[in-house]
């Protein structure tokens, strides 16, 4: 409607002089079309009937995966570590000691999640190689960047 007002008030010329409209309006049109086109397959597939699985619930996790109770244990431990971190923050520790402890505890949490929840402890070595590769790369790069700019990571 604003568009109509613009065209009415200033003529078609103003419309074509604004890149915002020349690029934007066709995009709106194409977008609407694409949306409708894309929505059509949902008609086919969304209302699938709810069906209860007749497969029995298994007792054991698949090979290479820990049991649910293991996960819960790790989770409880993670909660405890977080509590310790926050407690440390309020304790009057020397700055260096606090820094070291906090970094160590957060690294511990990080490693626990990656090893257990993301299964790197049990999974293919290729995954851990790629992930640690990325970690080492980014740590190295930004340590150098910050050093040359007179700063440091922590």
């Amino acid at each position: 409607m604003e568009l109509a007002a613009l065209v009415l008030a200033t003529g078609v010329k103003a419309f074509f002089q604004s890149p915002a409209y020349v690029i934007g309006v066709p995009l709106v049109a194409v977008g609407g079309l694409a949306l409708m086109l894309a929505l059509t397959p949902f008609e086919l597939r969304w209302p699938a009937p709810i069906r209860e699985s007749d497969l029995p619930v298994l007792d054991d996790p698949p090979e290479g995966h820990p049991d649910a109770s293991e996960y819960v244990k790790v989770g409880v431990f993670l909660a405890v570590v977080t509590a310790v971190e926050v407690a440390l923050y309020y304790l009057d520790l020397a700055e260096g000691a606090l820094l070291g402890l906090l970094l160590a505890l957060s690294a511990l949490k990080f490693i626990l999640v990656v090893m257990w929840f993301m299964h790197l402890k049990f999974d293919n070595r290729l995954f851990s190689t790629m992930f640690t590769g990325g970690m080492i790369l980014v740590l190295a790069l930004f340590t150098i960047v910050l050093a040359t700019l007179g700063s440091s990571l922590v």
Binding site: T82, L126, F131
Partner: protein, 208 residues
Amino acid sequence: MQHAPTIDPGHETSTGIDNRKLLMWLFLASEVLFFGGLIGTYLLYRNSSVAPPCPTDCVFDGVTYQGLFDIPFTSISAFVLLMSSVTMVLALAAIQRNNKRGLGIWLLATALLGMTFLAGQAFEFTEFYHEGLTLNTNLFGTTFFVLTGFHGAHVSVGVLLLVSMFIVSQRNDWTKEHSLNVELLGLYWHFVDIVWIVIFTLVYLIQT
């Protein structure tokens, strides 16, 4: 999600690793660089702001400004996100044992915890805004909002995927054959969680 978008599903891969899992790990490895860049920028500019407010108490022109960070509040947020990782992995454990109902419950729980975290972030952002911190107030504002904002965006995408997976899994007959879908979403979710572990320590707890 229902169908592996890989060609020739019957074909064994050269390494025996599933294509999609490899893709997800590559994506996460690449995301490490993305968040590394954002966190690196925050650390570079820490304590470089030339105007208040600051994360912790600071003095400008003889006036002391109170710090913005509310550690107990953020600790709870961090805790919520951490626990959502536990529920996520329990969802995986459920579907691996053909327990579709369990999968649904744990997926929903994870999504709810994720939404709680997002609500906490929204509250925190509003609070900071009222105390005078915006994207263009100072370096702290810019770097903080962009870093945590991008993390929040990742959590939002995760919540969206969790809810979608809940719907799809409950409307269809998901069994342990489908557990890879849950595992892949789990990988993403845990990754978002460990990013927050790093942010919580480096940005909130360590103040040098």
